[in-house]
């Protein structure tokens, strides 16, 4: 899916007088099937940018085009529908539903789609199997390790075959082997379905796999080029 940001800014208002500028004048174009790594020091605005891309929050300024549509002008309903059908999001903090078993967590994005229960369940289990957690399907998040939770979150993000996958430190809690597996899955998905992938990372190996590395600093893009 094609993504086009121009002049995006985001300012958090903490109070009447205190404002935190998190993003400043971001221009970014991502082609269909492209794999982009966002790098930069902690607090430079990667998560904020991904949230805007994922329609989880609105930018304070600028325009955001998804394919040919202006996403900044979406209604709340359109945003929700778009999140459900075309976007997959992997959070830095996993954000799994604590009281639900893994398979239900993975199935959750599908509950808002018109498919039979059996199909939904089937797809959820397949996605879990793809991240190697079929045997943990009935475990709740608290009963799993951080890495396992991360993989459940990955499975959840992939379960509806998104056109745009946004990942915030997807390998941050994984050992190098599983990290590579997860990364392989993401790359594979991007290749097969034309999914555009944008991932924030501190991990040089992820950056190395990405076709393109965008470096941020202090809320702005400082360099944008092919990965090393």
């Amino acid at each position: 899916m094609r993504v086009e940001l121009s002049g995006i800014g985001k300012t958090y208002r903490l109070s009447e007088t205190v404002e935190v500028p998190a993003l400043r004048d971001i221009d970014l174009r991502v082609r269909e099937g492209e794999f982009v790594a966002l790098v930069g020091p902690s607090g430079c605005g990667k998560t904020t940018l991904l949230s805007i891309l994922g329609l989880l929050t609105l930018p304070s300024a600028g325009s955001y085009r998804l394919e040919d549509r202006e996403a900044a002008g979406f209604s709340r309903n359109e945003m929700a529908r778009c999140r459900a059908s075309t976007i997959g999001f992997i959070f830095q903090a996993y954000n799994l539903l604590p009281r639900e078993p893994a398979w239900r967590n993975v199935m959750f994005p599908l509950t808002f789609r018109a498919e039979t229960r059996a199909t939904r369940r089937q797809r959820a289990l397949e996605a879990l199997e793809a991240v190697g957690l079929a045997h943990r399907a009935n475990h709740r998040p608290a009963q799993m390790s951080g890495g396992e939770q991360q993989r459940v979150a990955v499975a959840r993000a992939l379960v509806n075959r998104p056109k745009l996958l946004l990942a915030d430190e997807p390998t941050g809690n994984l050992d190098s082997r599983t990290g590579r597996d997860v990364l392989d899955m993401i790359v594979d998905l991007a290749g097969r379905f034309g999914t555009s992938v944008i991932t924030a990372t501190h991990d040089p190996r992820v950056a190395a796999r990405a076709g393109r590395v965008v470096e941020m600093s202090d809320g702005a893009i400082v360099s944008d080029g092919a990965g090393t």
Binding site: L56, N77, F112
Partner: protein, 455 residues
């Protein structure tokens, strides 16, 4: 939206904040119980009125002389106490009744000595006599029928058994026509009974049962008012009309009663208007005519009622009851609505992060809203269901309470129409919707990133 799945999670949520949830449900329970019992009691009251009208017609006027000669007053007391002991009448201890009579007799020696009816030496006031009835018939052409009645309370029994106190009514053959009375066995009073002052009587169905214990009554003899009376008929069950229980009434020719008592007094007139619209006018004319004949009497002692008034009185009573229950319902529903809103706000706060996750993976505002609304509606519907059960259990009590405090009837059974269950459950659902609306809106309007950041 997967409703089955959402339903499952809903049931789980209901188990959170359980104590507070139960407390806030209490108001819904009480409120719904008030709603359904009010509906059922009012409907029962209407039904009772309908039956009543079927029995007597709307065109009846009753004139009652409140003056009671001393012996009548004495027994009336006992009789009314006994009546108040309601259904347990069969178990009423004859001994106790006797004791009361003795006590009362001591208190008023005049009565015990069986002196002149005016008892304490005060001369008897002017009362209606049979010739007045004739005169009234001539002067009131708008009255289709005028039936003179003499009321008395007497000890009644078979010779050799303990007597009981019963209400004895002296009347004429017209009495059956005007009140639609039908006999089950034997016959009713006939004109020759009154003409010749025959010592015959017609029994109400229950009193016949009580005295004769199921054995045929017609042809047997009863002792009352100091002599023997032949039973000529037993009425079909009729129930209460104009505050008289016809099933426990003994009817005799009015002339015979006057003879036995030694007082010619017509204590009531049953009058049938020629048409329904004339009843109210007839009531006033009747009172006027009677007062013209009893010049030294206090007009307050000569009471007239008509069915029309009774209906209005009944309607007022039901309205009062409805206002009362509506206030109870409104108050408890309001209080519990606030409680439920509070619980739902707590739930939204506790689950803010989860709401953020739902939204991040695609739940719309409407999905979130529906979830929280269903939760508050379900909470209230549980309370509503309990309230309906409670209301059904309490409705007869409520009917009895209304009857005894506001009306002078013995109460009635509540009537539950199917729509009442829908209405009262609907009320509780409405409380759920209203009190859940604000918290659900709060949840729905959360921004995903803000919600996810919530600890």
């Amino acid at each position: 939206m997967d409703w089955l799945y959402m339903g499952g999670t809903l049931l789980r949520e209901l188990r959170t904040n359980r104590v507070r949830r139960i407390l806030s449900i209490l108001g819904v329970v009480i409120g719904t119980a008030a709603v359904i019992s009010s509906l059922a009691v009012v409907e029962g009251g209407r039904e009772q009125l309908r039956l009543h009208l079927e029995k007597m017609g709307i065109n009846m006027v009753l004139l009652e002389d409140r003056y009671r000669p001393e012996p009548v007053r004495l027994f009336q007391d006992v009789y009314e106490t006994e009546q108040r002991q309601a259904a347990a009448i069969e178990d009423a201890q004859p001994d106790e009744i006797e004791k009361k009579i003795i006590l009362k007799s001591r208190a008023s020696p005049g009565a015990a000595a069986g002196q002149d009816p005016s008892g304490d030496g005060i001369p008897m006031p002017e009362v209606l006599r049979m010739r007045d009835v004739e005169a009234l018939r001539a002067r009131l052409p708008e009255a289709a029928l005028i039936e003179p009645v003499a009321m008395d309370y007497a000890e009644v029994g078979l010779t050799g058994t303990r007597p009981r106190v019963a209400l004895v009514e002296g009347g004429t053959a017209l009495g059956a026509v005007i009140r639609n009375l039908a006999v089950r066995e034997g016959r009713y009073l006939i004109p020759s009974d009154t003409e010749r002052s025959e010592q015959v009587c017609v029994l109400g169905s229950r009193i016949a049962e009580e005295i004769f214990k199921g054995a045929p009554a017609v042809g047997r003899r009863l002792s009352m008012l100091g002599s023997q009376w032949r039973v000529v008929g037993v009425l079909q069950p009729k129930g209460t009309m104009m505050r008289f229980d016809y099933d426990r009434l003994i009817q005799v020719p009015i002339t015979s009663m006057h003879e036995r008592r030694g007082i010619e007094m017509v204590s009531a007139l049953l009058v049938q208007a020629r048409d329904n619209d004339g009843a109210l006018a007839l009531r006033d004319r009747l009172h006027h005519e009677v007062m013209a004949r009893l010049r030294d009497r206090d007009p307050e002692e000569i009471r007239v009622f008509c069915q029309q008034e009774l209906i209005e009185q009944h309607a007022t009573m039901l309205r009062t009851f409805r206002i009362l229950t509506i206030s109870v319902a409104a108050f408890s529903l309001l209080v519990s609505g606030v409680g439920i809103m509070n619980i739902m706000l707590v739930a939204v706060r506790e689950r803010t992060r989860e709401i953020g996750i739902w939204k991040a993976v695609g739940a719309t505002d409407a999905d979130v809203m529906a979830h929280f609304l269903s939760e508050s509606v379900l909470t209230c519907a549980i309370g509503g269901t309990l309230g309906i059960l409670l209301g059904v259990l309490l409705a007869s009590e409520a009917a009895g309470f209304v009857a005894s405090t506001v009306a002078e009837t013995s109460g009635w059974s509540p009537v539950f129409l199917p729509v009442f269950f829908g209405l009262s459950l609907g009320t509780s659902v409405a409380v759920g919707l209203v009190s859940g609306l604000f918290p659900a809106l709060v949840a729905a309007r959360l921004e995903p990133t803000e919600a996810l950041r919530h600890e």
